[in-house]
């Protein structure tokens, strides 16, 4: 297994979508190749940073416009709906 092969399989490796034999080969390579270990680790951190990032609160005006539009159109879309909002 070469470094190029590690990069090619990287997404499936991180998603745990590889068969055990290929996975073992990759981990054997990672044990002896520091550069590949860093690439795997920093790519995983990249995913985690985005995955764990909290979305910013909606700007107040954006939120107000959203809820006004919803209030106006929801009742029109479903005339029989009970206006409990």
């Amino acid at each position: 297994m070469r470094c190029r092969d590690i990069v090619r399989e990287l997404a499936d490796y991180l998603d745990e979508a590889l068969d055990p034999t290929l996975r073992a080969s990759i981990e054997e390579h990672l044990c002896k190749c520091e550069d590949c270990r860093i690439v795997v680790d920093t790519t995983k951190q990249t995913i985690d940073i985005f995955c764990n990032s909290e979305p910013a609160p909606l700007p107040q005006t954006t939120r107000q416009r959203l809820h006004e539009a919803l209030a106006k159109r929801l009742r029109r879309a479903r005339p029989g709906a009970s206006p409990q909002a």
Binding site: V7, A11, D12, L30, E34, D35, I49, R78, A85
Partner: protein
């Protein structure tokens, strides 16, 4: 870049990132059922729960504040109007994300008709081998305040080609499965995987100056 074996190398255990079930609260089916029967306040609860995530999604796809806002509004309105078509075979949030993606893509294509063709062949001639290989150390994101961190991430993902950005957004931020992402975008599973790999590597490279050891210290 292969090096001689090192003593007792530490392999960080790779853990599968969080699954979509993490964003779904247990009361969601009840809220959806109530909204279906006409309870607007139940739908309002769902809107309040997901409005931030949906706005981030439409913002990341369109890269335009006005379009993002319109796409978000339309997504929630369409979701409500078509609630009867939601049969509960998937999570409500996944269904909502797909609606929002469609709305955002329409806005993006209208504004940039020559730029976005998700199903076109991506040039694979570019070498994917990472060039900057520097360790980031533990918890690199802790070095930044939340607002600054948000700006760094927004810029990094905003600079990606749309066809990479949208796949990454659905797969790694919204945590749809590869198959769900492929279905939502009308792409093949191999195309999603190929774009996801490139997106992840490009983002890694773009975050490197901020997170490598010694950065921001």
């Amino acid at each position: 870049m292969e090096k001689s074996p090192v003593n007792s190398p530490k392999l960080n255990p790779v853990q599968h990132h969080t699954l979509p079930s993490q964003v779904v609260k247990a009361d969601e089916p009840e809220l959806v059922a109530a909204a279906k029967s006409g309870d607007i306040s139940a739908f309002d609860t769902l809107v309040n729960r997901y409005e931030r995530k949906i706005f981030r999604l439409t913002q990341n796809i369109t890269q335009n504040r006005e379009d993002a806002e319109d796409a978000m509004q339309e997504a929630f309105l369409k979701a409500y109007e078509h609630l009867d078509n939601f049969e509960g075979n998937s999570r409500f949030y996944t269904w909502l994300v797909r609606i929002a993606v469609n709305q955002a893509l329409m806005k993006l294509r209208r504004r940039r008709p020559n730029v976005v063709s998700l199903d076109e062949e991506i040039d694979t001639g570019e070498d994917t081998m990472p060039r900057e290989i520097e360790d980031w150390g533990p918890s690199p994101s802790d070095r930044y305040e939340q607002t600054e961190m948000g700006d760094i991430l927004s810029k990094a993902i905003g600079d990606l080609d749309p066809s990479f950005r949208i796949v990454f957004q659905l797969r790694d931020i919204e945590q749809l499965s590869t198959e769900e992402t492929a279905e939502a975008l009308g792409l093949s599973v191999p195309a999603v995987k190929s774009r996801l790999l490139r997106a992840r590597l490009k983002l890694r490279q773009r975050l490197n100056p901020y997170f490598r050891r010694g950065a921001n210290s």
